[in-house]
Amino acid sequence: MSTVKYKIKSALHDQQLYAAIQNASNLSTAKRDDQILGLDDYESSRDAAREVRQRSVDYSPRLIEKFTREFTALGGKVYIAANASEANRITINILKSHGAEKGVKSKSMVTEEIFLGRALESAGIDAVETDLGEYIVQLAGEKPSHITAPAMHKSRQSIGRLFAEKLGIKYTDDPAELTEVARGMLRERFLNAEFGISGANFLIAETGHIAIVENEGNVRLGLSIPPVYIAVTGIEKLLEKLADLSPLVKMLAKSATGQKFSGYFHLLKPSREGEDGPEEMHVILIDNGRSRAMADPEMREMMLCIRCGACLNECPVYKTIGGHAYDSTYPGPMGSVLSNLLGRNKMLHQELPDLSTLCGACKDVCPVRIDLPKLLLELRARREKPLSHNMLASGWKWTMESSSRVEVAGKFARMVEKVVPKVMSGGVKPGGPGSFRTQVEKRKSQVESPKSKIRTDDEQ
């Protein structure tokens, strides 16, 4: 059994997980719908957002160059990392050069993608997650199960037990109390942090700005208190102009959390001497397969993704098994595609494109109109298939080439009902009436006039 199959199996038997995921995704969906259905320009807003992202991908090398120039001119430093280990090495080197050992981190899927947390830990650097969900997940020693709601798989009771065990507090499952506990723990860390690390939603090539949306204020503290600040993000997050932010920010919070606008919106650039903020600002741009994906005419559309997570909330498969079953940093429909484009080798998560009924809900909610079913199908076509599947496919092809072969196969299927997928048993009784085709032909051969005037082709 593959790891994914195994994880699906355990997820399917976890009633608590099922309840938590259903509950949270239904809530997110409802909140999103409230925002989106209220927009009278939803479709044109999607077009505008997509157009901006399309330029990001089309002009990528030029934008990276321009951003690097602008950001450096302001006193910041930009690094381009070809892969995960390079990105981790750069981060650790920056921190080591300052002797920084204790710091704070805000939520970032790119840092999850490169396993930065693990790399820092083995370098003896302590980076505490400060987003509440991430804090919970880190405390539990887990990975996020959702790209915008990392602890979505956890019930408040399980969080209560976790806090009681790890933080030595009295058990409570009151969300407000639990939040207060985490806040108290984190406040201390913020004040003494030697570095702050975050992701970035977008980078503006024109001006050298970093744009970040958040809801908890932890990003703001993390990028203003510590002396060293590092933003880690993918090379596809660059926008051409400052004005390009507007159509994206308009869609992002609505699609992600069902808010009109996020609680905080940061637009920052390196500070000059005497100004507030970190003394040093670094941006690490990670490729890790992205430039390869951008050069791939069929798959480059995936690089438009703005990581809102709406496709996860809407996906009936995701809603049934949760994010961990995908056994990849990025779960759900977007994750099943993206995971196979990242990393050094192609298609590291070959099974994931199968985790979809191709219902199309993901495509319908995507704020930048990514045709996820199409991309999933493309990946299904590309991957290598096991011999047994190839044989089945050849058998199917051979059968479908001729209607008489279909008849033989159909008769056989109805005879041995057990070997056919359960659809058959849903539809027809064993030894049933035969196919439509045989009935038509039988009727045609009957001399007495049948009720139906249906004509077969050779009668014309």
């Binding site: 299904r380 849903g426 005037k453 077969t456």
Partner: protein, 262 residues
Amino acid sequence: MLKTKVALFVPCLVDQAAVQTAWATVQILERLGIHLTYDSRQTCCGQAMFNAGYLNNARGSAEKFIRLFHDAEYIIAPSGSCVSMVKHRYADLDLSGSFLRDWESLRLRIFELTEFLVDNLGVDDIGSKFPFKVGIHNSCHALRELGIKAQPLKLLQNVEGLTLVNEDLVDECCGFGGVFSAKYPELSAKMGKHRSQQLEIDSPEFITGVDDSCLMHLKQAFKTNGALPGKTIPQTIHIARILASTSSSPFDSESYSYGGEV
């Protein structure tokens, strides 16, 4: 209307496992005086192979389909999913030459049954009678790729004796997904259970839709999970069979074919 010539496409699943749907479709179209043809050499649109990632095999089916149907004035099928495959997904099969040319015009002439009745023929009442409580499950491909939602609703609203329920129910996948259900049967079944329980809420006697594949999956879910407390399990039925039922030829669940013979 009498002059409309229609080629019937009976998807492989309907042909082999849901004969009643095909006959009901014939009955409806003939009742409307449509000149119907059926080419018994037809097999499959290629969707199963396409979804499994076997593009070459799918292309083979597509070319066969195009060869058999490119002359038809209209092609009608009692399935949203297969129609969407032909109409939209053939674009990704790298068809070439005459196949590509023929498909480009053919795709504008293929319709799902209810879509054809309402949008093309402008018919929303065909004198049907079906005195039961009915809920709709909107199949995803029909709904999201062909925009079919209002058409079946309109038709059902005009069926004598029929009470519609579940009208405000949110649309969601039944969990079938073709190859998906073969590869992940347990997961697919759990999704089926979830959807079937949503559909049971208003206690319908029947659940209908435009795709037998989804309906069969739901039927299996109803059968496996039993009724919710205080509810009875609804039967699943393709919308064509509801529309084919009239006072002179009432619905018969045991009937396998048109008029109950063969």
